[in-house]
């Protein structure tokens, strides 16, 4: 097995009295796409900032490429690319200038930086916008430009903090496609997200974070197998009757989850569970049988849905 690219041991980040990251252990292998999943405030971004060597570690140890961020921050940053949660594109520069001038921060020779900028514009499907002002780009284009910019130094590791938050479905799919290509080229990726479908699409392995701690770890599939039944029956009842109806579901499937707007029944056979519910005289307004997802794992582990 190759040397892990990231090794974090009992990693802690504190801001005054507030503990944002509370002793996590993480290893990321070269070539892997690794995800931090969790609601807002779970400690994902703080973890990413420590990995990106822009936030000092409070305690515990962190190594990237075998180097310590406290002493070799600049050396490490030279080998990684960062896509921050909020775009930090330079609005006083054109699309093309954003790329090559950023390359200069990595000490690329000017001709090389400009050559790479042209390539990356192609990759990000922005070639026809090379001379546009950044402000005139759509949200999806800005995000693609951010990703292109993060690749200017040919990074071995790419850090993406909520790469598709706020994008429409089509723009998300374009972005996922670009990230998948990078994975095929062997670029290691670490991303945070609170979208389950994104994590399932992109990640080889992920950890679920809550209140600064890791509450589960594994591949999307193994997490679902470990923590959930194969299928889920979603039942909607008339407003205000969830409680009483849920009580009557007792014993159907493995367990039930009562949400504000619906009741979830975890069962290996969702159809059979629905038949049983009908047999008990329950009349839901709607019923849906679906496969279990990471959303269900998250709900079970944290007692909250991700949208919170």
């Amino acid at each position: 097995m190759p040397e892990p690219l990231i090794v974090a041991h009992q990693l802690v980040k504190r801001f005054g009295d507030f503990t944002a990251v509370d002793g996590i252990d993480v290893q990321v292998q070269p070539g892997e796409v690794f995800g931090f999943l969790g609601p807002n405030g779970a400690g994902k971004s703080s973890t990413m900032r420590m990995i990106g060597c822009v936030s000092p570690v409070t305690s515990g140890s962190l190594r990237l490429f075998g180097l310590d961020p406290a002493t070799h921050g600049a050396k490490i940053r030279a080998r990684i690319g960062v896509v921050p949660q909020l775009d930090t594109l330079d609005t006083e520069l054109s699309v093309q200038e954003n790329l090559w001038l950023y390359g200069r921060f990595f000490d690329l020779p000017r001709a090389e930086a400009k050559r790479r900028a042209v390539e990356l514009l192609e990759f990000a499907q922005l070639s026809d916008r090379a001379d546009s002002v950044v402000d005139n780009l759509s949200g999806g284009m800005k995000r693609r430009l951010s990703i292109a910019r993060s690749l200017i130094n040919n990074p071995e590791l790419l850090l993406l903090d909520e790469p598709t938050t706020g994008l429409d479905p089509q723009a998300r799919h374009v972005l996922w496609d670009r990230l998948y290509r990078l994975k095929q080229e062997g670029v290691t990726q670490v991303l945070t997200t609170h979208y389950m479908d994104e994590a399932e699409q992109l990640c080889d392995r992920l950890v679920v974070m809550d209140h600064g701690r890791i509450v589960a770890e594994g591949s999307p599939r193994s997490l679902i197998e470990q923590w959930s039944t194969r299928e889920v029956l979603e039942l909607r009842f008339p407003a205000g009757t969830n409680d009483t109806n849920a009580a009557q579901l007792a014993g159907i499937g493995e367990r039930q989850e009562l949400l504000p707007d619906r009741v979830l029944v975890y069962a290996h056979d969702g159809e059979a569970a629905l038949v049983e519910a009908h047999a008990r005289g329950l009349q839901p307004e709607s019923a849906l049988v679906r496969r279990a997802s990471l959303e269900d794992v998250f709900l079970l582990l944290t007692g909250r849905s991700l949208a919170d």
Partner: protein, 265 residues
């Protein structure tokens, strides 16, 4: 060995690529050169109004036992003031925009660039901008016949020192500001400096309050530019240089630390 060295030296104090920041500004301002040019006119208009208007009323001013025409007295002070204003302007409003709104420094710090590179790069750029105004102002002074010694060329490094001092102080102040409204404080602070740094009248006219004038960093800058322009050097020049160098050094170190503590939490 190098690890020990790096542990002792805080990351904010490492300065390797400040010129990358300057390169960015050169490219950005290629499209906004009018903004740069406009900064040149304010001191020029002041000088012309002093020469044509006030100068004819005042006549001559006695400096170090020598009578000089009023415009020749005021011109070096205006040159020093424009170096201050150019540096302050760039290191407050523009730095605020890049720090808080465009988040350009956040982007830079994700690369091998460090807080020291950002602070030194930004302050250097402000200084360069101030220096461009100083050079053109000296040219105008020469054209108006207000320069009669080669010593006057030393007014340029004097203005660079003024620029460095005020760019560093301005940068540090900006890191403490909460938003655009706080920028008003800058004008409130530089206006009295501009008026009461022995700019428009000699120190003697302040009477027993002359010592207050000496608290103004600009006063020391004005004194330097005046000495260069007159080609008359006294021991006090050393003191003026020491004050400005000392202020710059402290402000530069604080500036890099502020970038570090603000952006690398």
């Amino acid at each position: 060995m190098s690890t020990i060295f790096l542990r002792i030296l805080p990351p904010a104090m490492v300065v390797r690529r400040p010129h990358r920041m300057i390169e960015r500004h050169v490219v950005a301002y290629r499209r906004q050169w009018l903004i740069i040019v406009s900064g040149f006119f304010e001191p020029l208009l002041y000088l012309l109004s002093m020469r044509a208007g006030l100068g004819s009323l005042v006549g001559t001013v006695t400096v170090a036992g020598k009578a000089v025409p009023y415009d020749a007295f005021v011109a070096p002070a205006l040159m020093a003031s424009s170096a201050m204003n150019g540096a302050i302007f760039d290191s407050t409003g523009n730095v605020m925009h890049r720090l808080k709104y465009a988040r350009i420094y956040d982007a830079a710090l994700a690369t091998p660039m460090g807080p020291g590179d950002v602070a030194v790069g930004e302050i250097s750029w402000a200084l360069i901008r101030g220096q461009m105004y100083a050079i053109s102002f000296l040219g105008v002074m020469a054209a108006l016949g207000l320069v009669d010694t080669w010593w006057s060329l030393l007014a340029l490094p004097a203005c660079a020192l003024i620029g460095l001092t005020f760019a560093s102080i301005g940068f540090v102040c900006t890191t403490y500001m909460r938003g655009w409204a706080d920028l008003e404080i800058v004008t409130t602070a530089t206006m009295p400096l501009f008026l009461f740094s022995a700019t428009f009248f000699p120190t003697s006219s302040y009477g027993s309050w002359a010592w207050v004038v000496q608290l103004s960093p600009l006063y020391h800058g004005v004194a330097l530019v005046r000495a260069a322009n007159a080609g008359v050097w006294t021991a006090s020049v050393v003191g003026h240089v020491a004050v400005l160098v000392g202020l710059s050094a402290v402000a530069l170190v604080v500036a890099a630390r502020r970038v570090d503590s603000l952006l690398r939490k």
